[in-house]
């Protein structure tokens, strides 16, 4: 059994508004998936609901993680089972040093701390000792924040990771570093769903399946050729189903 995460017909409500009205997807270990779609189509809401953020209420559907229904499990429990969801806009946390935070994270995950590993991973992501000494995300550039999110991915080696726009606001050098780290983690067995607006990161990561979200639903999925379609025709055309025949109906 290689299917780690299965989301079935998920309906999500935020402050009395239905923001996702049907999302079905599968993520298997060791593979990369992409979730694309126009702004406000519900991509982040889907990620947050899978994570178990209390503001995102699941009103219908199920989330199955390694055969277990985790739809009603509290957030830290899901994380402990091997789920990782990175934030699109990670907050600044004053007084909590990045290094200290990573040590606590490592201690939680593995029961012990290895500062050398933390330093090595940080350096692999172009973050040095001086970053570890600084407060988490305080005064960090957009690119640095994204790298901190990916650094945690590298450290935690989760079974499933959902990365919410790891590439937005990131320069080309950072993008390469971030993409190659994600690749490494996938090679070690993590299943990764990347939410993105850009083709660039996907050309590095080569997703095996692309999900397209629109109007609060996952409308279709297919291979990377969908990306060409999006580029040629735009979301509106695809979502209306005009180009549907070009993409493979997928999902289950």
């Amino acid at each position: 059994m290689n299917t780690f995460l299965r989301v079935e017909n998920l309906h999500i409500r935020v402050e009395n508004k239905l923001v996702v009205k049907g999302a079905t997807l599968n993520i298997e270990g060791g593979k990369v998936y992409a979730l694309i779609g126009p702004n406000a189509s519900g991509k982040t809401s889907l990620a947050m609901a899978i994570l178990g953020h209390p503001e995102y209420e699941v009103v219908k559907g199920r989330i199955i993680f390694e055969g277990e229904d985790i739809t009603n499990l509290p957030m830290p429990e899901r994380v402990r089972r091997g789920l990782y969801v990175s934030f699109q806009n990670p907050p600044e946390i004053k007084g909590v040093k990045l290094g200290y935070f990573l040590e606590r994270l490592m201690k939680r995950r593995y029961g012990k701390v290895d500062k050398n590993i933390i330093l090595r991973y940080s350096e692999e992501l172009g973050l040095g000792r001086e970053h570890l000494e600084r407060d988490l995300n305080v005064g960090f550039s957009g690119g640095e924040r994204k790298r901190v999110e990916v650094l945690q991915l590298l450290l935690l080696k989760p079974k499933i990771a959902i990365l919410d726009e790891p590439d937005s606001g990131v320069d080309i050098e950072s993008l390469k570093v971030i993409a190659s780290t994600i690749k490494d983690v996938v090679e070690e067995g993590t299943g990764v769903l990347v939410i993105t607006h850009y083709r660039n990161i996907l050309s590095y990561l080569k997703p095996s399946l692309v999900y397209v979200m629109g109007e609060a639903e996952i409308k279709m999925c297919g291979n990377v050729e969908i990306l060409d379609l999006v580029e040629r025709c735009g979301y509106s055309c695809i979502l209306k189903g005009v180009c549907e025949r070009d993409a493979n109906e997928g999902g289950a």
Partner: protein
């Protein structure tokens, strides 16, 4: 009657005659001084007694044979240590003995702290017992912290030690003090009065960690006088403020280019009534003061944070900060920053804020697998931490371990 020199007897008589005439302390919950007996001596403890080991554990202090505590515990080790310090040029002695030996003490007796400020200060001046004198000779620098521990275990007593620290010109000293009463101590008052004299170009670093159970009232009184180019850096960590806690340590920057960094962090629980802060008087030219107070209020605790700077000296600058984090449903925090410029060419700044734990930050930490309690504790640690920077390594390590306890056991 105790044997005390003439000058001190007269001083005490005058203080006694003033008690009834003076007003109640301006800040902090009212204490009925008449209901309290005055403790005769600080109790001596055996170092192996459970009271001591428990107290040290809660303070995160370690007993080191070569560096014992200067008070209350193990007379023999203490004497040996005092001898070693004296070879280095540091006089460390209990104040009741010192006052009989050294005439010069009268030049430091209530010369930084005003005796007739209120009923409590006069009461203290009349009845003080115990405490220590630390005098560091000119140019002597000792970087390993001198450790002090006050353990209060008597109920219905007022414990009134008087401490005098003198750093002669160009000397340097680091002091770590723990004040604690074991759980179960009933109604009592702990009011240590500390006067610090920082000589020309001298540096004094100090940390005080305080833990008071729910019936103890704590009124630490402190004044610091700083001469030309001298520096005082002090942090007070109040982990448990007891029934009520009030402190307003004041630095008087007399000399040109003298400076103070004074920080207080408090975590208040239950029904504690806390009134804390710091004050600085910038009298010399180009003085610098940084005053920081940070408080976390749980349950139905009330915390008043006061910070005050009065600037007079040419081109003097002060930066004041007080912030509060409210966690209890019935908790209250008041922040009262005061800036007084009494001449031109001074610059005074302050920043104050009171808030709750940020929802977004909390969710972020929980999204990485931390339970809510753990995440909140981490944020409390993060909130208190800036209140404790600027400390040299050994003292900093002590603070780290205390903060770590707050972070892990926090709630």
């Amino acid at each position: 009657m105790r044997e005390e020199p003439e000058w001190l007897r007269k001083f005490r008589e005058r203080a006694l005659s003033l008690i009834d005439k003076l007003p109640e302390p301006k800040y902090g919950a009212r204490i009925d001084l008449e209901a309290l007996s005055v403790e005769r001596e600080l109790r001596e403890y055996d170092e192996s007694s459970p009271v001591v080991s428990k107290a040290l554990k809660r303070l995160h202090f370690t007993m080191k044979e070569e560096r014992p505590f200067l008070l209350q515990v193990n007379d023999f080790l203490r004497k040996k240590y005092a001898e070693r310090l004296s070879q280095l040029g540091i006089l460390a002695e209990d104040i009741d003995t010192a006052v009989r030996k050294y005439e010069w003490l009268k030049d430091y007796w209530f010369k930084a702290f005003p005796m007739a400020l209120n009923k409590l200060t006069a009461f203290h001046a009349a009845y003080s017992r115990g405490g220590f004198v630390l005098r560091v000779k000119e140019g002597v620098k000792l970087k390993e912290p001198i450790q002090m521990c006050f353990i209060v275990s008597s109920s219905s007593y007022a414990q009134l030690p008087h401490n005098i620290i003198i750093a002669e010109p160009y000397s340097e000293v680091h002091i770590l003090t723990g004040c604690i009463a074991p759980r179960g101590t009933r109604y009592s008052l702990h009011s240590g009065l500390t006067e610090v004299y920082v000589g020309e170009g001298a540096r004094v670093f100090s940390i005080m960690i305080e833990i008071w159970p729910e019936y103890v009232h704590a009124r630490p009184l402190k004044a610091v006088k700083v001469d030309k180019g001298g520096t005082y850096i002090g942090s007070v960590i109040v982990l448990e403020p007891g029934a009520s806690y009030q402190a307003f340590p004041t630095a008087i920057l007399m000399g040109d280019m003298s400076s103070v960094t004074a920080k207080t962090v408090v975590t208040a629980r239950g029904n504690s009534e806390v009134d804390v802060g710091e004050a600085a008087f910038l009298l010399g030219r180009e003085c610098r003061a940084i005053l920081v107070t940070r408080a976390v209020a749980f349950d139905s605790a009330t915390v008043k944070e006061r910070i005050r700077a009065r600037g007079r000296g040419w081109r003097s600058k002060a930066y004041l900060e007080c912030s509060g984090l409210i966690l209890g449903d019935k908790a209250k925090i008041f922040a009262v920053p005061e800036l007084e410029a009494i001449s031109k060419d001074v610059e005074l700044y302050h920043e104050s804020s009171i808030g709750r734990v940020g929802e977004n930050e909390l969710m972020y930490l929980m999204s990485r697998g931390f339970e809510e309690d753990e995440a909140i504790s981490m944020m409390i640690r993060g909130f208190l931490d800036p209140g404790l920077s600027d400390l040299p390594a050994p003292l900093r390590i002590q603070v780290e371990s205390i903060l770590e306890r707050v972070a892990i056991e926090g709630l």
